[in-house]
Symmetry: C2
Subunit: 355 residues, 2 copies
């Protein structure tokens, strides 16, 4: 049976990425060797790294003056690398969910942290508005999409100070005005590639101003100087990212993704709002297009396990909600086709009809 | 033409690991999904992580009281994680090569560093002996195998203080008495798996004694508590490691590896010592079994490029030496068969005969 992969991350990737990676594991670019056993210093992998960086710049429209890095570890590693590099005295954080909270917590080790606003009062079901970004801070940190709670900041904010964004779960899902950000980071495992590599985009003039001494691997300048090959990079992971970036480019880029992601999320939210059995958990104006969170409506609460099991029988995988929200979460990343969303909507209708 | 892969790292892996990883990228354990797109929280990957940890313990004979971790980043990341966790006041380092030097440099950010001995005077071509390990340090750090210079510490040292070892390039090549070490770390990309994940084995009672506050991802206790899944681990990389560990176990474990690695390195060193065209660069008593470094002998110096090209025509890949040593380096990791070493030896003989 065809599986519809709604996993929150690691999550669905284009078949192009999967097939290409499997092929390179058998034979990497005609070398007669597997990509798992070739030197990262060889000309073949050098070209892969260069292509991956160039494609990020092209697809995302990265302006001059920014460096694009592929580094090991995950976004959780960036939670402390960011303040290590940029927090001299004080930083401001927007507390919109679990990851934003963790990021702010790490920053406290390096300086004063101001939480400018929080949506914790309502279990992070909305994005705070009307707050004022302080001007006496080194940077303002946001998490553009909240994978767990299903809210998303869809606009590129105007910030009077350096704007830093964790875009792990919605990067490449729509066009972004990179010039508005000082630093963007994203764990690969949603719209980019397999887990184990993180994309960092940083405006170079922000670096090297810190009085703090940094470990080599923490200092972004180390990776800039060496084109992300100061040490052995996660070779196969970067290769898979490069393939996804090719796929993005060949499929209309971010303008096309934006359109499809709008259509997919509208289809599912419309059904949630129409269907008597289900109700959405996030404030309507802040609903994420990447992670759609919903629960059983009043009167149907006891049917949660039954719906999970029914959905599973239809090949719908990974829709169990995070324990912090409960219910269901359908993640609609770039590679998920509209037909998978339709399959979920059909299952919700069938379930409603039988109850 | 069959390729003989002498790459220094990333390097040759068992065909079992390559085939198994390619298969899992097509379909992971019958889930109908690629391992690139499954949740690390699913029961299938949970079993992979548990198996990988259990196999490390079994194959290496890890005693009670030690934790086995698979973490993101590389050994270069551990260069600063080790002192972050263990260096309160002072640490001692043995300076036997480039990686040892880099590790010591990172430790200087966290406390006083004593270099107990160095072989830098002779371009790291030997391992210092007769030094005294200070007793007033938090730990003594060694690099058991020097990938670049081709020397190796083949015995498990008796240390009066906690012994920390970077075993990136010779772990799993022979039995090791883990009880003699407080902490062992190893980037995967030699004898374990693809680049992008690092193995850490740490005696748990060493942790939690530091007054320094640590970022979550740096603190080894974070990863111990969460079975290496505090954040999304490098899923496919860990899977490939697990396959190599299965292969190790099914092929006689470290006693068998020890025997084959001895035979392979003896075959090649014997030829280097016999052949008029070549000469070894490392002190004989310190010769590495993993990385065999040699150069053209006096009178044949100008033939270096010619031999590289001749070797290449025979399918011998990755034998160019590191720029710090020049000449040639043949890396004979576990997965390299004896027949590949024989092919190199044959090429050296043929080259000698024609000059």
């Amino acid at each position: 049976m065809k599986k519809h992969n709604f996993n929150p991350g690691p999550s669905i990737l284009p078949q192009y990425t999967i097939d290409g990676t499997a092929a390179a594991i058998k034979d990497f670019m005609g070398t007669g060797l597997s990509i798992l056993e070739v030197s990262h210093r060889g000309k073949e992998f050098d070209a892969v790294m260069n292509d991956a960086v160039a494609l990020v710049k092209e697809v995302l429209g990265v302006p001059e003056g920014y460096a694009v890095l592929f580094v090991g570890g995950g976004a959780s590693t960036q939670f402390f690398h960011v303040p290590y590099n940029l927090l001299e005295k004080k930083a401001a954080y927007l507390k919109t969910g679990e990851w934003a909270t963790k990021a702010a917590k790490e920053a406290e080790l390096f300086g004063e942290v101001v939480i400018v606003a929080s949506s914790e009062d309502k279990n992070f079901s909305y994005v705070p508005k009307g707050y004022v970004i302080p001007t006496d801070v080194d940077y303002f940190h946001i998490t553009t999409n909240n994978t767990i709670y299903g809210t998303e900041i869809m606009t590129d904010l105007d910030s009077p100070v350096t704007l830093v964004a964790d875009m792990s779960s919605d990067i490449f899902s729509r066009p972004v005005d990179v010039a508005k950000y000082g630093l963007i980071y994203a764990g690969a495992q949603k719209n980019l590639g397999p887990a184990g590599v993180t994309l960092v985009i940083v405006r170079e003039d922000l670096l090297g101003k810190m009085t703090r001494k940094m470990p080599k691997m923490v200092d972004y300048r180390t990776h800039i100087k060496s084109n992300s090959m100061f040490n052995t990079p996660p070779v196969v992971n970067v290769y898979a990212c490069m393939l996804t970036l090719q796929w993005l480019k060949n499929n209309g880029g971010l303008v096309a993704m934006d359109k499809v992601n709008a259509a997919k999320s509208e289809l599912l939210y419309a059904e949630i709002d129409r269907n008597k059995c289900f109700v959405g958990t996030a404030a309507k104006e802040d609903r994420s297009r990447m992670n759609v969170c919903f629960v059983m409506a009043e009167g149907y609460k006891e049917l949660e396990a039954e719906f999970i099991s029914f959905a599973s029988s239809k090949g719908l995988v990974g829709i169990k909600g995070h324990r912090s929200v409960g219910g269901f979460r359908a993640s609609l990343y770039n590679a998920l086709p509209l037909e998978s969303v339709q399959a979920l909507v059909d299952a919700m209708r069938e379930f409603e009809a039988s109850h």
